[in-house]
């Protein structure tokens, strides 16, 4: 039982960056913009969270910095994809590469070495609600959680509310399904898309912060290891719904936790690598239509031209 609790806590922590990025992806894709740059935004967020914490001593300032830089990075994608109507995938890939190189460069400039930064002395790896640890049995679960975990659940609820319960959310969904219809009732398609992409940037930056400040208190090159793409998979697996994305992210987090703890779980005879492939293979099956039907927002990936049929 103790092991299960530890596993669950581990799964929640590992899922957290995925949840934030997946939610960000949902905002962007629901409005019709494919955001492949989530990996790059996560990298930037993770780095700048540490950078600002390093200079200011305040991890929460680091978090805000991450969200800000995330929005800025997303703005670049927005200009390339919405304004210039470019290939959204190429733009996304370009931004990912840019994020990798600029963070490596700044790392070298500030810490004078490559690979990873120093640890920041004050970070956010501990449970903020220590009173919860007094609960029998479950108490140990809470001791393994970070502020980001709680935040991620809040983010899911907020996302759900915005997208399904507000007028703005209705417009987002309309713009993603049938931009021309939205246009004819006076909605500005471009504005809605810009806002959504920026929101995805903010969430992506937050995701990065949760990865660096929330786990190891430093930035290491390559620490995202494709989590931005797994978040996209979680989004698709969750059928572009915030709760679905949450569950899918938990699934991926759980898979990773199991694989890390394989030895103590006594299942080390199953090759760990095969466990690692689980989330990816599952996504392929879902996308290929073998498990349910993943129906994306209809206008996804197609730049909108006013006046064009």
């Amino acid at each position: 039982m103790v092991i299960f609790i530890a596993l669950l806590a581990s799964a929640l922590r590992l899922a957290t960056p995925l949840i934030f990025s997946a939610l960000g992806g949902i905002f962007s894709e629901r409005s019709g913009v494919v955001n492949i740059a989530l990996e790059g935004i996560m990298i930037n967020g993770a780095f700048f969270a540490i950078l600002v914490t390093h200079f200011t001593g305040s991890p929460w300032l680091g978090v805000f910095a991450a969200m800000f830089i995330g929005a800025l990075t997303a703005l670049l994608l927005a200009v390339l994809a919405i304004h210039l109507r470019g290939d959204q995938v190429v733009a996304g890939v370009a931004i990912n590469l840019f994020a990798t190189s600029i963070t490596a460069f700044l790392l070298e400039m500030v810490w004078h070495r490559s690979g990873q930064t120093d640890s920041v002395p004050v970070s956010l790896t501990g449970n903020p609600f220590t009173f919860l640890e007094k609960i029998p049995v479950l108490g140990n679960l809470f001791s393994g959680l970070t502020p980001f975990v709680y935040l991620s659940f809040v983010a899911v609820a907020v996302t759900y509310f915005v997208i399904y319960k507000t007028p703005f959310g209705l417009r987002i969904r309309a713009v993603g399904e049938h931009p021309r219809a939205a246009d004819t009732v006076g909605i500005n398609v471009y504005t809605v898309r810009y806002i959504c992409v920026m929101i995805s940037g903010v969430l992506g930056g937050l995701s990065g912060a949760s990865l660096s400040l929330g786990t190891v208190s430093l930035f290491r090159e390559g620490m995202t290891s494709g989590k931005g793409f797994i978040a996209i998979a979680a989004m698709i697996f969750g059928k572009w719904h915030p709760v679905g994305a949450l569950l899918a992210s938990l699934f991926f987090g759980f898979a990773e936790a199991v694989q890390i703890q394989a030895a103590s779980l006594g299942i080390s005879n199953i090759p760990s690598e095969l466990l690692q492939t689980l989330p990816y293979v599952a996504t392929v099956l879902v996308l290929a239509g073998f498990i349910g039907r993943a129906v994306a927002p209809k206008a996804g990936g197609v730049p909108y031209q006013k006046g064009h049929r």
């Binding site: 390339l80 190429v90 590469l97 698709i236 392929v284 064009h308």
Partner: protein, 371 residues
Amino acid sequence: MQSQKESKIKVAIDSIKFPLLAIVFAFIIGAFFIIWTGNNPIMAYGELFSGSIGNISRFGETLLKATPLIFTGLAVGFGYRCGLFNIGVEGQYIFGTIFAVSGGWVFRDMPGFILPGILLVLGAIGGAIWAFIPGILKAKRGVNEVIISIMLNYTALYIANYIVRSVLNPSILLGGDKKAYSVMIPDQGRLTALTEFIPSFGYSSVNTGIVIAIIMALIIWFILFKTTLGYEVRSVGFNPYASEYGGISIAKNITLAMVISGALAGLAGAVTVIGLTFKVDMASGMPGYGFDGIAVALVGKNHPIGILASALLFGILKNGERKMQIAGIPKEVVGIIQSIIIIFIAAEAIGSYLPDIKKKFSKKSKEEVQV
């Protein structure tokens, strides 16, 4: 009326203009970063180029670095010609390495004049198989190839690690301690280092792989522009509707293009294994040749000759960064320059849309009038 030769050269120059501009801009922006580190950009770039083409040995190392990029650039470029974004080159590369190393073990008693060839073919097959999956899914079910390919990249990474650890590990096949790498390629399966033919290459490990790469570029050029297969692939890439009208099968060509693209990626892996590493190591992350291939293809405008030049450029950047580092400039500047080049190219791809969009507007208005 211009002669054919003249107009062909003019077309070539026109298409180089923008990538060249992008490269120049990127170097200028890179210069700002270098100044920020407190160094002199001229000196820095001097070190970069001296380190990569300053003498024959260094040039050899540049060629060595460029070799896999030629293959992956061709892979991405060929896919693009058919309207496909093969971002799965990473995974197909990995499969190429695994197939090559497996072949090296299974056929370890084969003589040296055919073994390298067999291993290259196996590598190509490995990549082709892995690319077939997204290819057939797109052709038959219209599934977008991008996300599937990314998923398959990671799947390939973990499968490869498993195979290296538990199937092709020296401890299993030869006895002894568990290693973090596979069995080695037998001597007679390896590519010959160029120093055997041209001693001035000195310490460089550059091998016949570069020759194979250049030949491959020519073959792909031939396929694309001189065969009916290439004609169909390019037609589908430009205009699937007109291709359909002309009796061309879109599904067949998409699948074929992905398979060929995957084969090229697999070749990249095989060439690296039998030419440089002689084994496969367990990896914690993607090799990166696939993403570089995307950059190479974009800068080379998806044309085999352009890709050769572009791969050479990226080889220079990759090889020269060490000497720059030694001179005190963070090698990450090179990474920044590379990514800025791609952002500019991405913007150009957009720029070429603009005249089309203008045309579409006036045409559409006319059509709207007719309703």
